[in-house]
Structure formats: structure tokens, C-alpha cells
Symmetry: C2
Subunit: 326 residues, 2 copies
């Protein structure tokens, strides 16, 4: 009901989470505009919105383009601010691009909203990466922020700009700190968006999955539909304004056991334990899983899709549509 | 001994803390290069280095100029990275400039060191502003970072870049989170660097000091010589590498009582309690004073100059040199 007839802007709207969100919003009757730069190294892919292409508006532009942003935010009721540079490795080799997208562009989007559309509600996609190596598990929102790569630092700043503009200017904003999200429409060309992408690609192409280190690193995983639920809840509830929330899962598992599960669900394939590449080891965070009780208590969110179901659906999607993603 | 004959680069070297540090380093026998942009709204002032002008090198350039930085860092043993945009209000009206100086330029300085001078030791001047409104007092380094203005967010990112480059690339770096620093050579034209500057100017010019709010806000204060001690200790001790340290004082006081003390030490003048201007109120942090036991225990630093002595010396300085600062 909340979103029927409402104008909704999604930055990164042709990307993994953005396109899944767009589809849901269209089903809910919203007027969706998806903004995306379609930079080849990032997550945007026009195929992601193929099922709804006649029911949304697409605007190809870059969030770093402050003039197009200043125009596009006008008249929107909601902004799901999902565009970002997501590769940890790329942020180390090219820190300026990460800065421009994850910091500067965020400032200019917020400035545009403040000046041209102060009634908009904004939901920002942050990341558990900002915590760095956990000091304790599960990690709650009071855990120290000690990012271990440039991407984590810039996302931390980008998140705080949102909270600041909420607190100082009354621009309503909420930040969700996403953990590993997976599902249909994720980038599988490489590991720039999520390591699960390249794992699935290799599985489908008959190559062994490569698990770095000893494979014992613990992680939690959210199926993208659950993340879409959280985004929508954060948008519609004013109790979320000015808040940061962890997402997370009810269980967690080692990367090795995840790889084994994927092979099992796929019915074929194999995984290999390989040494950590130097550059990845330097920014690895070790074990991570989150405490998401704050969002459960405040907004009533909890993930619904069991890992096996989600992986099964994901594998089915990429077996069918693989050629659109590689 | 540590600094004799050593090449030392100070960004913001014509500014308040930078020039005091330069003077001390010259006395210790270092070869000092002061880099400063001399932007009129910032703290740089050639008069600050008048006593040592024949004994240091001055290079006028902006830390945002990555080419000059890439050249200048070469061959230096130490970098005191003090250049920054310090005005909280300016960071709200012009967030991009604050971002370019306090984030992007920091990245480019660190990249320059990584590529051209990985053996350099860097000490970064951070700020207690990154904590935001304290949740408890005194504030130690484990306090949450929740900055209340754009400047605080960007300084937080700037600090973490330093720690990151220490942790990932082995570039030795330490960050000091300064509290209110005062003393000779601070900017007194306005409140852009410290409110104490404009207070002292008004006192000397026979205008009433304006204390915002109810005047009961608590603050701690460091005389600049004590801060210089801390910077030098952080530079010479490798136990400081990768660490962040609060500076702080053994006592704290309300702004009202500080104003009264200044009037008393000055022998004339008055102060007035005036309502908080809206724009300042929105980013005020309330009471703040820090727990500096980490640096006391790790590096043996504690402040030595009592507030009354420091203020007396400061007043004497500005009575004598007022015309060079307004």
C-alpha cells in the first residue's frame, strides 16, 4: 500500500539488488526510475530489468554527475541509494574512483535532496565491510568501525553523510549494513560484487570453485528477496530515520562448507582450497557474522529464505540466463 | 637527538600547530620543509615562521595538488600531516572543499608516500570532532565515532586512510586526535580554527566575548607546546605505529568559566552569554573532555602547561603581535 502510485528513484537500479527491488516496487504499483551508469566493471545490466522494462523508466547516468542527480531527485517520494563501487581490491588499486563514487557522489546526492526535495525518504545501502576484522561475534551495530580497505572507509563516510543529513537537516535517511547478499541478477563475471558470483560462474562453466585460505572463514548470507524486504521496511517506517541497521542471517557457515553445499545443490562440480592471494589476504576480515536484533526489534525484519532454497533458485537462474551475465 | 639532521616535512607548516612544531624541530636540528597553501580562510600565516624564516624551507602549495605532493614527500624522514580544512561551519556550507582537503588529499599524500617514500614516518593530526556528541565522559579511543558535521566525517576517513596504509602497506603512521588546542600563532581573525581565537581577538579589541548557549558546555584544552611534544613522541616511537591516540588535559572547564578566566588574566574585558546561532547549534557536540590514558601509558605523554599559564602566554603574544593576525 505504501508504495502504490509513489515515485521511487533507485540509484544502481540496473544492478543486482536495485533491479530486484525495482521488480518488487513495480509489483507494488510504484512508479520506478532506475538510474545506472552501466560501467562495465560494475553491477548494472539491462537484462536485469528485462521482465519489467516496459513498466519502469531507465535513466543512464552516473551518480558522480551532480547535475543529472540534482534534476532526477526532484519529485521523488523515495530514494533507494544503492549505487556504489563494491570491489575491495579495486578500491586499493584505484582509491580515487572509490572515493568519488562512495563519498563525493553521496554528498552531492544528499545536497541535491536537501536543496530540491527535502521531503524525500532515503535508504542507503551500506556494508558490513565498515566494521573491518570483528573483535567479537556476532557483530552488532555498536561494534567499532575499523575498516580494512579503502572501500570500507569510504562507505563508512558515505553512510555517515546520510545520518548527518538526517540529524542536521531533517532529511529522512536510514542506512542498512548489508552482509553477503546473493541471488538472481548478481554479477558473476568476476568477484567485484561478491565472491559468490564468480563461484557460481565457475561451477556452471565446469571449473573448480576456488576457496581462499583454509576455507574455515565464517560468513552469513542473505538472499536478495530478504534484502529487498528490509529496504522497503526501512523506507516506509519513520522509526528507522537516522538509524543504521545490520542485516544478517540466522545461521552462518564456513566458506568451505558453502562451496560443498553449492556443488551438492548443483549436482556436479568441485571446489579447491587454494592459498590466499597476497592482495586479498591483506584486506581479509576473517570470520564475520552479524547480530541483526536491532532491525528485528525496530522494524520486525528477519530473513525468510533458507540458504539452500536461495542457492537453489540462484543456480537455476544462472543455468538459464548465464549468457546474459558473462 | 632523533630529529637532528633529519629531513622533516610539515603540511600546514605555516599554520598554528605546524609553525610551532617547525620552530621546535629547527631547535632540535632538523631540516624542516613547511608546505602550506596560504589560503586566506585557513591557518597559514608567514609571520608564524618569522623567527625561523632563514632556517627552514617554505614551499607554497596545496595538499590537493597531488603532483607537488608526490615530489615533495621524496627523501623526507618524517611527515607531520597537519594541513586541513578545520571549520565545522564551512564544511556544512561547502562540503566538497572539505572532502577534497580532508579526504582526497590525504589519499594522494599516502599514495605518494607508498610509491615514492615507503620508509617515511607519518603523524596525522586528527580531531576529537570525529566522536560527535559524547555518550560518556571522559571520551576514550573506544568511544563510538559518530561525527555531527561533514568535517568530522571527512577527518574520520582521513584518519582511517592513515591507519589502513600502516596496516596494509607497512607505511608507518600514527594519528593523534587533538582536542581544543590554543596558543601563539593560532588564527584569531574568526572562529574557523578555534573559538578561542576569536575570543582573544575580541578581548584585545575591547569587544565582549560571546559565549553561545548557556556557557555550561565543558571542554578540555591543550597548550600548543604540549601538542608539539605529543607529535614528536608519536613520530619517534615505533610503538605508536598504526595507533590512534587522544590528546587531552588533566582538567576541564565550562566555556563560561573559561571566558571569565580570560577576562581576569587580561585585566580587562567582558563576556556575554548569547543564544546559540542556529547553524552552530545543529552541529554542537555538548560536553566533551577526553581520556588520554592510552598515550600516557604508551608514549609517556601528558600535558605540562597549566591552562592559566598557557592563556597568559597566549594573551601576551597577541597583545604584542595582534596586527599580524587580523
Amino acid at each position: 500500500m505504501t508504495f502504490a502510485g509513489k515515485r521511487v528513484l533507485i540509484t544502481g537500479g540496473l544492478g543486482f539488488i536495485g533491479a530486484n527491488l525495482a521488480q518488487r516496487l513495480v509489483e507494488l504499483g510504484a512508479e520506478v526510475m532506475a538510474v545506472d551508469s552501466l560501467i562495465p566493471q560494475y553491477g548494472g545490466n539491462l537484462f536485469n530489468i528485462a521482465p519489467i522494462q516496459d513498466r519502469i523508466r531507465v535513466n543512464i547516468s552516473d551518480v558522480r554527475d551532480e547535475y543529472s542527480m540534482a534534476y532526477i531527485v526532484q519529485g521523488q517520494h523515495y530514494l533507494f541509494n544503492l549505487a556504489g563501487q563494491t570491489s575491495h581490491l579495486d578500491s586499493m588499486t584505484d582509491p580515487y574512483t572509490d572515493l568519488d563514487i562512495n563519498c563525493r557522489a553521496q554528498l552531492s546526492i544528499l545536497e541535491a535532496c536537501r536543496k530540491h526535495n527535502p521531503d524525500i525518504k532515503i535508504v542507503f545501502a551500506s556494508t558490513r565491510q565498515i566494521y573491518g576484522k570483528p573483535e567479537y561475534l556476532p557483530v552488532d551495530e555498536r561494534h567499532q568501525l575499523r575498516p580494512v580497505d579503502v572501500n570500507g572507509i569510504n562507505k563508512m563516510a558515505g553512510e555517515w553523510y546520510h545520518i548527518l543529513y538526517n540529524d542536521v537537516y531533517g532529511l529522512r535517511a536510514t542506512s542498512l549494513r548489508l552482509t553477503n547478499t546473493y541471488g538472481p541478477r548478481m554479477r558473476i563475471k568476476d568477484a567485484r560484487q561478491t565472491f559468490l558470483g564468480i563461484w557460481i560462474r565457475r561451477l556452471i562453466e565446469g571449473e573448480p570453485i576456488e576457496v581462499f585460505g583454509d576455507g574455515e572463514q565464517l560468513r552469513d548470507f542473505n538472499y536478495v528477496d530478504d534484502v529487498v524486504d528490509a529496504l522497503l521496511l526501512a523506507a516506509e517506517r519513520d522509526t528507522a530515520n537516522g538509524c543504521v541497521f545490520n542485516l544478517g542471517a540466522n545461521d552462518w557457515r564456513s566458506l568451505k562448507s558453502l562451496a560443498a553445499l553449492l556443488v551438492e545443490l548443483n549436482g556436479s562440480g568441485e571446489y579447491r582450497i587454494v592459498p590466499f592471494p597476497e592482495d586479498r589476504k591483506a584486506i581479509d576480515i576473517g570470520d564475520y557474522y552479524s547480530d541483526f536484533s536491532r532491525i528485528r526489534q525496530t522494524l520486525g525484519w528477519s530473513p525468510k529464505v533458507p540458504l539452500e532454497d536461495g542457492l537453489r533458485r540462484t543456480l537455476a537462474y544462472y543455468h538459464q540466463y548465464w549468457r546474459h551475465y558473462v
